[in-house]
């Protein structure tokens, strides 16, 4: 309770002191530390913070239970680091930035602790608005900011309808009462998958992420999508018996994961790539949650269900820290070169800073499932979950899960393709441009913390399993001592020990390093490329790396090779984007048609419209009563 008040006070102080960027950011960091403390306390036992009756049936309720505390901890670790990063990063923008970050953090805090619809909706809207304005901090971003707003508002409307259904059924706004309400479930599900950027609703992210400031992009990618994930967790927990949503989740999740990975493999922009990777990770969370709730009701599949739940939590952890690390490092690199394309930010590791380069490398490796990082553990768990689909009795379900598993596996492969591209060309590439000096101490520190987290969490992943309350999935086998081995099922199906893996890799690395340092008389020569020096125009470009994907999947990417005189380039787009642009064009046309024909300030049309509307209303009441 004390920590709860303290963190709210800190955020409020941060909001008040927004004119002093450093102070405001420090308050935000303090606030997140207290929030994490709240989360840890809440994990031990549920707390009711506030129960304020507004009217007879309407009351505001704030409280913490196990689910919200897990999300609180994860979200506010990443939030705190983003706030710390912003101390230096915000200097590139106006002072309002700190204000928006503090508002969104406070609102996030309330979203995760809200137990009634009204406080949830209010804080939900607050985040949307704060982020909308912070996107606008970069110039010429109106279009991107509005597309973000549009999707967020669609999600809000769906939530409104869901809560309306809740009110209609139970006469209260307490979310916990929405058990078995199919309308509520459907609309809330829609709202939250829009928030999670699942595939048909993802088109805004590529342009918005790349145009918004990097810390805002990190907030968009991690805490904001966490709201969606949190919501899905909540509504699934309320209605575990509705199988159809679980099946939809598995299918949608796997298709969306593949789509995201495909687009990531295709993209050439520095921030679009991790943006699409966000879609992929969130889809994986959705798919594993789907399996968890599909099998929850069968007694014989309890272990699979629990393991799938654990998998979802692991992906959330891995996604949160790896993606934050990636966005923050990329943001640093992007500002240091002031460039958008991956091609133009070569040599981050060598020329910008070692930590930033390492941030991109480690985060990218984690997202491409490189052992023993946390991303590897979570991807292994996901695949193990899908491998166990043979245990389900129903043949059609078995087929669906097998099919989804194939898509997910493809997605993991493609995402590592994309990440390799990012690491190879940006962190390790050759320098193409002079570096701009920016003050970046806190940026480097926060990147270093995240790198440490990504490596360390992989190492201590058995501890996380215990911490999340699933000790049944730990065992020992052969030379591996008891709690260090993660098993995917009982009786044992698949095993992995990230800790031992990490230790072995470390030993081999040290041995190699020792061996290498022994060799002193090594002949060093320039690379052999046909005997001549390699010119800058002769280096392999990012487009060439992506072209194979674009060329092979021509219909999916609408690839066009364009040659105009002395310039040539490849043009490809996201197929779903064409659908949205079609809708946009259609609505523009319809509205212009209406404005020209009906609402053209001609009095006759207006009178006809009013009379028509009057008659239709009368008829409606006449026949419905």
């Amino acid at each position: 309770m004390i920590f709860y008040t303290l963190s709210v006070v800190c955020f409020l102080l941060g909001i008040i002191s927004f004119f002093k960027n450093k102070l405001s950011c420090i308050f935000a960091v303090l606030g997140s530390v207290f929030s994490i403390a709240v989360g840890i306390l809440g994990f031990e036992r549920s707390l009711n913070i506030l129960n304020l009756a507004l009217f007879q049936d309407v009351s505001l309720r704030l409280g913490i239970d196990k689910t919200s505390s897990i999300f609180l901890i994860i979200a506010f670790i990443s939030f705190g680091i983003i706030a710390f990063y912003s101390i230096d990063f915000n200097k590139l923008f106006s002072k309002r930035m700190a204000l928006f970050i503090n508002i969104s953090m406070l609102a996030m805090f309330f979203v995760l602790t809200a137990q009634d619809a009204i406080s949830f909706l209010i804080s939900f809207e607050c985040i949307t608005i704060a982020i909308f304005f912070s996107i606008l901090e970069r110039k010429n971003t109106y279009k991107e900011a509005f597309s973000f707003l549009a999707f967020s508002e669609v999600s809000s409307i769906a939530l409104f309808i869901a809560f309306g259904a809740l009110w209609a059924q139970t006469g209260s706004f307490i979310i916990a009462n929405a058990v078995g309400n199919i309308v509520f479930m459907s609309f809330a599900y829609l709202a939250f998958i829009i928030k999670m950027d699942i595939t048909p609703f993802h088109v805004w992210i590529s342009s918005t992420y790349s145009k918004s400031p990097s810390n805002v992009a990190a907030i968009l990618s991690v805490p904001v999508t966490l709201i969606g994930t949190y919501g899905i967790f909540r509504i699934f927990a309320l209605n575990p018996n509705i199988e159809i949503f679980a099946i939809i989740s598995i299918l949608l999740g796997s298709v969306s994961a593949l789509w995201g990975a495909l687009q990531a493999a295709r993209s050439r922009s520095l921030k679009k790539l991790p943006a699409y990777s966000t879609i992929e990770n969130n889809s994986m969370i959705l798919a594993s949650l789907g399996i968890a709730y599909l099998t929850a009701n069968t007694q014989s599949l309890q272990y699979l269900s629990q393991f799938a739940m654990l998998t979802a939590l692991f992906i959330i952890i891995s996604h949160s820290f790896s993606k934050t690390a990636l966005f923050l490092s990329i943001g640093h690199a992007k500002e240091a070169f002031s460039e958008e394309l991956i091609d133009n930010v070569g040599g981050v590791f060598k020329y910008v800073s070692k930590i930033t380069g390492l941030g991109i490398i480690i985060a990218g490796l984690s997202l491409s499932a490189f052992p023993p990082l946390i991303g590897f553990v979570s991807d292994w768990m996901l695949l193990e979950t899908f491998f166990q689909s043979y245990k389900i009795d129903d043949l059609s379900l078995k087929l669906i899960i097998t099919f989804s598993g194939i898509l997910i596996t493809l997605a993991i492969g493609l995402s590592s393709f994309g990440m390799k591209k990012l690491i190879g060309f940006s962190a390790l590439g050759t320098k193409t441009k002079e570096v701009i000096n920016i003050e970046s101490l806190t940026m480097k520190i926060s990147e270093a913390i995240l790198i440490f987290l990504v490596i360390a969490l992989g190492f201590i992943s058995p501890l996380i399993v215990i911490g999340l309350g699933y000790p049944a999935f730990l065992d020992g086998l052969l030379a591996v001592p008891k709690p260090l081995l993660i098993v995917s099922s009982r009786p044992i199906f698949g095993v992995l020990s990230p800790t031992i893996f990490a230790i072995m890799i470390f030993i081999f690395f040290v041995a190699l390093w020792k061996l290498k340092s022994k060799e002193k008389d090594v002949k060093r020569v320039s690379p052999w490329v046909g005997g001549l020096e390699v010119l800058s125009t002769e280096s392999f470009k990012i487009g060439a790396y992506s072209f194979i994907v674009e060329s092979l999947l021509k219909p999916l990417n609408q690839t066009k090779e364009i040659r105009e005189g002395d310039t040539a380039y490849v043009y490809s787009i996201d197929l779903i984007e064409t659908f949205y642009s079609f809708i946009t064009k259609l609505s523009n046309k319809i509205s212009s048609f209406f404005s020209k024909t009906i609402m053209n300030s001609s009095i006759h049309w207006y009178i006809a419209y009013i009379i028509g509307a009057f008659i239709i209303t009368l008829m409606y009441f006449k026949f419905t009563r």
């Binding site: 091609d343 490329v529 046909g530 005997g531 001549l532 010119l535 125009t537 002769e538 280096s539 392999f540 470009k541 487009g543 060439a544 790396y545 992506s546 072209f547 194979i548 060329s551 090779e561 040659r563 002395d566 310039t567 040539a568 380039y569 490849v570």
Partner: protein, 411 residues
Amino acid sequence: MKRLLGIISSDKTEKLLVSSGTFTGLVDLSQKKDFKYYDWLRDRDSVYTDSNITSEEVFNFRLGPLAGANQECSIYHLKTYGERMLAVNIDQTYKSRKIEDLMVGRSFDEAIPLAESVCSNFAFSHSVAFTQAIEEALGLELSGYSKLLRVIFLEIERIYNHIYVIAKLSISAAQKVYSSHLLYLFERCISLNSKYFNSTFLKKIKKVGEVKDFPKELFLNYLEELKKVVNEFKKIYNFSLDSRNYLDRLHNTGILTIEDFYNTGFDGPALKAMNYSLDIREFSKTTKNFKPILEEEGDSLARMIVRAKEVSQSLEIIEESIELFQETQPESPKSLKTSQKRDSGIGQSESASGTITYYVEIKDQKIEFVYISTPSTFLFRAIQKALVGQIFTDFPFTVDSFGAFFCDCAR
């Protein structure tokens, strides 16, 4: 169909060396508008530039000079945004030995080895074309005996060159067994050369006014051996045509059209694969019944088929010539009655990849000016055209099917 073979600018006046099958000779500069490649041919010793694409995504993939893909030292600049070749610039200048300049001021006997070392695998064709030009300038005509010998050696050279090209193609297409067979036959061919004629690449055989004489039985023995090689070749070639895998790689790659001929002016098997022929053997008196082998597709497969069929055709010509040869007796060359000793001459011979043409001006038994027109000069231009728009995988199948050599091209 006429080709521009070269632009000759001795005596400060430019003249065009033009060939149209029956006629080969110098014409006035005013005809240059008929040839689209006049400007390029004037500049044939610099880099073959196709286009300079400048775009952010496009980069230059450099192959060479010392890369495994091209045996000879030269560079292919492939402009690409990945996979597809958008433009190809070929840099042959690394191989340039300036042989035309070296020939000037030398006596005939000194110059023949230079002509032979323009391109050793076409050594006999080069020496024939060169000596023919000198013979024309001197007003000499070869005896029938020597002419027959000339035909025999030209065809021998053609056989081993064609087998070489097909072997290279099969190596590129990863046909291990097939290529091992072909490599063996190729090696056998050039071993036979050194066994019977004392020179692997038929060098030092052609001289001005005569061809080095060998005993008649030697040719009969040689023919027996060659027949075995060619029959073996025919057998495995027919086997190779059953392999869909192999044919698919060659089919529809590196397609050339008649428009490309007007733009580049190539000849040889590449032109025959498009159903046109400018083969000078058709108009020669020594090979009366010669009918060129034609294909229609214009792709790598068609070029390969033309070469394979020409191997058996060459064997027939050799057989015929050796039969005739047994009855003729060696004679010394006779001077032409009508000749008024000109000091310039044009000589031509049909090498395995196209027509080689020499234009020579002489003075006091010494060479004053030489212009060498080689088939590879034009073929590389055609390769440039054929490569554009294809993907990297097709690169070896396209390049190897032409049988163009950089030493022939850069001289």
